[in-house]
Amino acid sequence: MSTTTEQIKELANTEYKYGFVTEVEQDIAPKGLNEDIVRLISSKKEEPAWLLEWRLKAFRAWLKMEEPKWPNVKYGPIDYQGISYYAAPKEKKKLASLDEVDPEIRATFDKLGIPIEEQKLLSNVAVDAVFDSVSVATTFRSKLAELGIIFCSFSEAVKNHPELVKQYIGSVVPHTDNYFAALNSAVFSDGSFVYVPKGVRCPMELSTYFRINAKETGQFERTLIVCDEGAYVSYLEGCTAPMRDEHQLHAAVVELVAHTDATIKYSTVQNWYPGDKNGKGGIYNFVTKRGICKGDRSKITWTQVETGSAITWKYPSCILQGHDSVGEFYSVAVTNNFQQADTGTKMIHLGKNTRSTIVSKGISAGRGQNTYRGAVKIGKNAGNARNYSQCDSLLIGDRCGAHTFPYLEIKNTTAKVEHEASTSKIGEDQIFYCESRGIAKEDAINMIVSGFCKEVFRELPMEFAVEAQKLLGISLEGSVG
């Protein structure tokens, strides 16, 4: 059996596959955060005065706030003055086609397996590639424009559609919402903006790849998606980041607005650098994601596969304001080595006959700590509200942990709320059964884990589901000894 041990050692030593750094000239703001930096960011981006004011209000609010201490995660103090809050590739000019994109950047995307051109031609996916805070390539835009769909970087939206941005920014996640949301509101760099007009069904999956690259540059993405009456959109967010020794802070904000009869599907595959096997390095992923089902019969679905980051702190939530509106949350979170995740959702039922579904699958390996934290609130006017929650944890090895914190707050007696939870361990007998059929140990684990996550994967768009399964495999390499 000694060969097995060696194989496992070898696999365990496999370094983060996407850990490479692209050499691109950067325009970096001096380290530190004060009002001048906020003004600098705003002026670099040639923003209107109202937006600068909004940023400054957020900054002043942030100064008075305290970093949350309640999550079930541990990390050293973050030096907010040691971070540079703005970085943009120097060569920034309008690009007519993808061919004009910096070859270095193109090569990076290729290494990550994001064939922009292929996607453009074959898979019918519009890709808005965000590279270190500034968009470098946007495809399919004209095709979408024909339908009246706006899909662009946040900065462009500020320039070209200021009335829409002004109307919706901060309407779901106020600038005072929490410490990290306030920080993001003050210094957000760029992100994506989507607007789907009345009655339009977006014909393709909209996709964005985020990538953190500049050393010690926090990423403060901001995404805003608005679906007008009867509209539909499916949005994909996928992330990989290169290897770094320093902890990198990522505090994004995502806001979704669904009007009457509108549907928004938001899917994420997150694979940022989790740190090495000793727990050194890795991304701090402190994200605020929230959607509002504003109109009757509207629907928001969050699907996430979280395999990366040293620490994940995020609770994609739904405010179910419209009557008969629906909120869904499907999540797979993996923690291996020293990764920590405190993730879940909030379903806030305000309208009548509102329904929500929560399916959370936590996988812990190594010394990983995985926490599900979810809140279901039923307001006093939310008659006949329904919630179903299912939280399953899978443990691999005996040094990891799984924790579940479901909060319920019910103010209407007609509510029906169900909660199911389970914890299981990958059994030696399951692995042996696969092996006895000729399936290698690592493949067996991937298979068992994928089976465990099936209910979530089937919510993902096809190409994402395949990618998610691969990521899961990479994340759990060498986790069973």
Binding site: C434, E435, A444, M447, I448, C453
Partner: protein, 253 residues
């Protein structure tokens, strides 16, 4: 095909097999019988490479290779198959998908092309027909929610698809009614060939009415105490295991 010499196996610090010798030639069917706790299943699991079964002494040569030096998945790819006494459930993993991965792992090892979904389904449908197994078994999760009989039939189905060179059946008959028993036996009989060998572990003679063995061995207290032709099974049925046990029990002291 298989040559086992002086095999000693320990489970949880307890010696279960205390020196087993067994020679199986190509095309032969060997029945391994014995009372509860005699080590029948331990022998099957040790041959398959179960990590909980520690080989402390002896050798097992399979087709010229040192079987004991191979990991369980390598053994399987080399053509060793074990039908489990208690098949394991793998929730969420589609039975067809699972089998395709297994078959392709074996084919790759044999230097054959991996089958795509279409070709795989062709192979599988044929086997299902021969075994009189319902198609629906393909789309269910591996053994999840299967009845005892379905689980055993699924094992035989796996065996039929993987076409092993050496098949070890670990009490496949236990808990089966007569109809299910027949399905299992027919499956095995359909696969008998001059190149393929079987080791059939069973507590009861009953299965051997359907799968007629070339040799019968009786295990007692971790050793083979009797070997013979199929008439030995009938004799056992008549006289009970008590007939072979006292000698072995005496030898232990």
């Amino acid at each position: 095909m298989l040559e086992v010499r002086n095999l000693k196996v320990r489970v949880d610090d307890k010696e279960i097999l205390r020196g087993v010798d067994l020679v199986v030639k190509a095309g032969e069917v060997h029945a391994m019988m014995g009372p509860n706790g005699s080590g029948k299943s331990t022998l099957a699991r040790a041959l398959a490479g179960h990590p909980g079964y520690e080989v402390t002494d002896g050798t097992a040569i399979y087709q010229g290779h040192d079987l004991l030096d191979m990991d369980p998945d390598e053994r399987a790819r080399e053509g060793v198959f074990m039908a489990f006494q208690y098949p394991v459930e793998i929730p969420g993993v589609n039975n067809a998908y699972f089998l395709k991965a297994a078959l392709n792992a074996r084919r790759k090892h044999q230097g054959l092309d991996e089958l795509d979904a279409m070709d795989f389904m062709k192979v599988v449908k044929e086997k299902l027909k021969v075994l009189h197994i319902d198609d629906s078994m393909l789309q269910r999760s591996v053994n999840e929610g299967f009845s005892g009989g379905e689980k055993k039939r699924n094992e035989i189905f796996h065996m039929a698809v993987l076409e092993p060179t050496l098949a070890v059946l670990d009490e496949t008959d236990s808990g089966l009614d007569i109809d299910a028993l027949r399905v299992v036996a027919d499956g095995v009989n359909a696969m008998r060939s001059p190149e393929r060998s079987f080791v059939v572990v069973t507590h009861y003679q009953r299965l051997l009415n359907y799968i007629v063995p070339d040799y019968v061995h009786v295990l007692s207290d971790g050793r083979i105490v009797r070997s013979g032709g199929r008439e030995l099974a009938l004799e056992l049925e008549e006289k009970g295991y008590g007939w072979v046990e006292p000698a072995a029990a005496g030898a232990r002291k």
